[in-house]
């Protein structure tokens, strides 16, 4: 895999990753005590500056509440929605699109309206998205048998049986998308909290997508690949380790009507970094970066004013600082809760061992020109049939820039090895190894790519995505995890069991609403 082909590595590039050194400091930082002058009292502290934390702050501010701080470990906000910029090029570092929200998702529609992305909302609640924020055609193509063709399904060379199974699958997904439970909720919806918890839906969570497909008689390798692409894309999981509920959700939650394939994709050159930019510009007064939150101590007595303490290590001043507060919104990945919240396991009786995460590698490949093409022209999303990567997204696509230099964002989920193994591999291999892998993969479709590359930057995501493996999403652990621990409220996408901006946003808003409600009483 690695190291095949001529080793013409471009001159430049960087190996990036969340601040691992500082993160590991968490383990031996519990003894840090801020000096008495480094304490401050503030009613609300948000811990974590990813989409969930930023959304919580956005919601608080919207309600007219400004008395809070948001602490983020990294220098850059946004978590897995962050983006990069080089000269005039912006590009995502991970999450890069959302689908047009359904009328049910009012808060997200409100945010998008505020951003000017949604121009108006029709009488029946359907948001109208401004043309230039919808993904520009041509949207996606697939490289199969030496030729690019339009779409995500490798249709060229498919047998009649392959195509028959594909159309059966599509029809089935459309049926699931139309289904409503007794309360009138969609079976599959985003955020998932607006969808159904009917027993028929939940039962799907007990088996893998692979076994569910086999039971329907669908065994076409092309269909496997097509569906697995969705699972790898949204969950970082192969078919046999994805819950059938999650596998169907990927397709059915994004179909509004039977006549329409899927809700329109909304995207920006910087991916979801565009939403991060908006939220951080709204919140600038409350944001503090470079703060490693080491310990959260719940109050002795629930009613005690400013009884909860949050201790953080200030990277720049190299000193601990402390906050006395009434409410904490914990917007970090859930697996960190026992490390940061004092006596979490003992007091709540909850374990976070069931929260499993996929690792990812994301590369931004800077090009001095466009590679040679064969077949359907360059799209926003470009997929290589049979590759372990997810292909690449063209950051200049949405700006309408069709010529000259560009940045391709290439995605690679570790689906073939366990999360632990993949995190070890992420730390072991160096920049040159990863860059070689990226270029070997791209060379499959673009033999001339090496001559065009000026720079390859690589991001290692150790805990990129929560895994919706069978039994997790509708099992007892996930549900319990969202319940607040006294004055500490939880907000992150893990609480949905799937990693999507829509879910992180939902939990941020929900946690903020909980805090507002608690303060009102």
């Amino acid at each position: 895999m690695i190291g095949c082909g001529p080793r013409v590595i471009p001159l430049q590039g960087e190996l990036l990753g969340p601040d691992i050194g500082l993160g590991h400091r968490l383990r031996d930082s519990h003894s840090l005590v801020p000096s008495h002058t480094d304490w401050q009292e503030i009613p609300v502290v948000i811990v974590g500056g990813g989409i969930a934390g930023l959304s919580a702050g956005w919601r608080l501010q919207q309600a007219g509440f400004h008395d809070f701080v948001l602490l983020e470990l990294e220098d850059q906000f946004g978590g897995t929605s962050r983006s990069g910029i080089t000269g005039s090029f912006q590009y995502p570092w991970a999450a890069h699109y959302i689908t047009t929200p359904m009328p049910e998702n009012l808060p997200l529609i409100q945010l998008l309206q505020e951003m000017g992305v949604v121009e108006e909302v029709s009488a029946d609640g359907v948001p109208v998205v401004a043309e230039h924020f919808l993904c520009r055609e041509p949207e996606e193509r697939i490289f199969c048998d030496g030729v690019w063709s339009e779409g995500l399904y490798p249709g060229a060379g498919a047998s009649r049986d392959d195509l028959q199974q594909k159309s059966e699958f599509d029809a089935s997904m459309s049926t699931w998308a139309q289904k409503r439970d007794a309360q009138g909720r969609r079976f599959f919806s985003l955020p998932i909290a607006t969808g159904s918890d009917d027993s028929e839906v939940i039962a799907l969570d007990n088996e893998s997508m692979l076994s569910w497909m086999n039971r329907q008689g669908w065994t076409s390798p092309r269909l496997y690949w097509y569906v697995e692409y969705g699972c790898r894309d949204d969950y970082g999981l192969p078919l046999d380790r994805t819950s059938a509920w999650a596998g169907i959700l990927y397709f059915a939650a994004r179909m509004r009507t039977a006549s329409k394939d899927s809700q329109d994709v909304i995207t920006w050159p910087s991916g979801n970094g565009h939403i991060v930019q908006h939220l951080t510009s709204r919140l600038s007064d409350q944001l503090r970066s470079g703060q490693l939150v080491c310990q959260i101590v719940p109050p002795q007595n629930q009613d005690e004013l400013f009884g909860t303490t949050v201790v953080a290590y200030d990277k720049q001043r190299q000193q601990p600082i402390g906050f006395r507060t009434d409410r904490v919104i914990f917007a970090l990945p859930q697996f960190l809760a026992p490390h940061v919240i004092q006596d979490f396991k003992v007091r709540t009786g909850r374990s976070t061992a069931d929260f499993q995460y996929s690792s990812w590698l994301v590369a931004n490949v800077h090009l001095r020109g466009r590679p040679q093409e064969n077949g359907f022209p360059l799209c926003w999303d470009n997929i290589l049939y049979g590759s372990q990567s997810l292909g690449y997204v063209v950051s200049t696509h949405q700006s309408g820039n069709d010529y000259g230099p560009s940045v391709f964002t290439w995605y690679y989920p570790f689906t073939d090895i366990s999360p632990m193994q993949s995190r070890e591999k992420l730390l072991q291999l160096g920049w040159a190894d990863w860059a070689d892998l990226v270029l070997a993969d791209l060379s499959l479709a673009h033999p001339d790519i090496r001559s065009l590359v000026t720079r390859v930057d690589i991001m290692r995501w150790g805990h990129a995505m929560i895994q919706p493996y069978p039994g997790f999403v509708w099992g007892p652990t996930r549900k319990a995890a969202a319940i607040s621990d006294g004055t500490i409220h939880f907000a992150n996408t893990d609480l949905s069991g799937i990693a999507l901006l829509e879910e992180a946003f939902y939990h941020g808003v929900r946690a903020a609403d909980e805090v507002l409600l608690a303060r009102a009483s």
């Binding site: 043309e131 919808l134 520009r136 055609e137 041509p138 030729v147 309408g400 010529y403």
Partner: protein, 508 residues
């Protein structure tokens, strides 16, 4: 007997035919990559077909029982002919892309079969004089040396210095010479019947290929002229497009990516119709924007108004705008438009440029290529037209070239409806241009306007097509050009590209 001729001369034969065989294979692979792109696929297909055809040849060789030497020479001649003309023929076939692939693989297959026949025959001829071990080892050694020579010399020497067409013809000649020479070398094995005829045929093939070799330049030009239908007087490849200018008896023509942009004989009809309605309808225009139209012919028409203080031309390709200034026939045709100090050239993608802040204009002329690709289709979207509005003074008129309403009515009305959807008041019009047929335009403004007040006295210089009456007539739509409904062209559907594709493909 044959042992009077040194065996080493026969090994030289092996060397020559091995080199020729591999050269033909490399030629086919390279040509396929040039024409079809994606060199990895093309090379693997060519190599695959070639090798399997060699297998077929080797298998067929068992059916040749007698007259081995005679057959060997005939095969050499056949190979000389097919291999020699392979590159020129494939170049000529280039415009008929549907036929290119069958032709390519047909040739590769025939060459492979013939090459596959050669060696078994030669080995059987030689086996009388050597023991089997020696035979195999020596013949294969020279075969592989030939392959090495070919693969080294092909990229280093032949492609850069001779080009594909001449290389192909040269090795065809070499093959034919091997045949001619073998009639002497293998003389003891040949019956004298028809021997002279065989020799003359070898000489004839060599001669024909030699003529091709010296006329190769004309051949290459002929290939492109076949496609464009005229004598090519200028051609270049920019990062954005293939530019070619052809010459016919009465004038010259500009082609971009093989699509006719204008014919100097009747382009005045197109450009007068495109430009003057937008320039005459209002107060004398002072600041004008031209988008597309790197040939400078629309600019020439604009400069017929003395009121113009500035003119910005936005065209993607610097190779095109520079050609319009530096290629004398074109510079003459656009009346040195690019030397006028009021004209400013901006080489940028109009979609990116229009999104930036900038001054407002009194009149805008849009002369983009037809929407045959997504990268051009985006220039006819509601998004583009809305961005354009920010660059318009309130009463500004915009004229847009909109492809042929007769050949592609859906495409034409899609552009008109898209302008309307973006908030413009639109008046469709058309003009006959012999080189194009009936051509469609749209005149648009954010303010209401009904008829075009005509003040032809403003125009300096002559108009050859437009008169007051003709201009009014252009806005009268004949029965076969009546309005129709259409989807709106948006960035996220590119409906126009799909219409255009199906309508022009149907008409071809």
């Amino acid at each position: 007997m044959i042992n009077r001729a040194p065996l080493s001369l026969l090994y030289l034969n092996v060397l020559a035919i091995a080199t020729c065989g591999l050269i033909y294979e490399l030629l086919a692979g390279t040509l396929a990559s040039y024409v079809l792109g994606d060199s990895v696929t093309q090379f693997s297909f060519v190599i695959g077909v070639y090798l399997s055809a060699m297998g077929v040849g080797a298998w067929l060789s068992q059916y040749i029982q007698s007259n081995l030497a005679r057959y060997f020479i005939e095969i050499e001649l056949g190979l000389a002919l097919i291999g020699g003309v392979s590159a020129p023929v494939l170049f000529l076939a280039f415009p008929w892309i549907d036929w290119f692939r069958p032709m390519l693989f047909g040739m590769v297959f025939s060459i492979g079969v013939l090459v596959g026949l050669e060696l078994p025959l030669l080995m059987r001829i030689l086996k009388e004089y050597l023991d089997f071990g020696d035979l195999v080892s020596r013949v294969l050694t020279f075969d592989y040396i030939g392959a090495l020579l070919a693969s080294l010399l092909f990229p280093i020497l032949f492609v850069p210095y001779l080009g594909l067409v001449r290389t192909s013809l040269l090795f065809g000649m070499l093959n034919a010479l091997v045949a001619w020479w073998s009639t002497y070398l293998l003389r003891p094995l040949l019956s004298s019947r028809g021997l002279e005829r065989l020799r003359w045929r070898a000489i004839l093939v060599t001669f024909l290929l030699g003529v091709g070799f010296f006329k190769a330049d004309q051949l290459t030009t002929l290939a492109e002229e076949n496609a464009l239908g005229g004598k090519i007087i200028y051609t270049t490849h920019s990062p954005y497009q293939r530019i070619a200018i052809t010459q016919k008896r009465l004038g010259f023509q500009l082609f971009l990516n093989g699509h006719l942009q204008f014919n100097s004989v009747d382009e005045y009809r197109y450009h007068e119709a495109l430009v003057h309605p937008a320039m005459l309808g209002n107060d004398p225009p002072r600041h004008v924007l031209v988008m597309g139209g790197g040939d400078g012919l629309a600019v020439r028409e604009c400069l017929k108004y003395s009121s113009i203080e500035s003119l910005s031309l936005v065209d993607l390709d610097p190779a095109m705008t520079q050609l319009s200034k530096n290629f004398e026939p074109l510079n003459r045709l656009n009346q040195s438009a690019f030397s006028d100090p009021r004209v400013k050239v901006i080489n940028e993608d109009a979609f990116v440029w229009i999104g930036k802040p900038g001054p407002q204009y009194d009149a805008v002329i849009i002369d983009f290529p037809d929407p045959g690709s997504y990268s051009v289709g985006k220039l006819y979207t509601t998004r583009f037209f809305k961005l354009l509005q920010k660059r318009l003074k309130p009463a500004a008129l915009v004229s847009v070239q909109c492809t042929s309403p007769l050949v592609a009515p859906k495409s034409y009305w899609c552009i008109v409806r898209t302008l309307e959807a973006a908030g413009f008041h639109v008046r469709p019009y058309h003009a006959p241009v012999p080189s194009f047929g009936i051509w469609g335009f749209a005149l648009a403004s954010m303010s209401e306007f009904d008829s075009t007040p005509v003040r032809f006295d403003r125009v300096r210089g002559e108009l050859r097509f437009l008169t007051n009456d003709v201009l009014q007539g252009l806005f009268e739509l004949p029965a076969d050009l009546q309005p129709m409904d259409s989807e709106i062209n948006r960035l996220d559907n590119q409906a126009l590209v799909h219409y255009y594709d199906s309508e022009w493909n149907r008409s071809d």
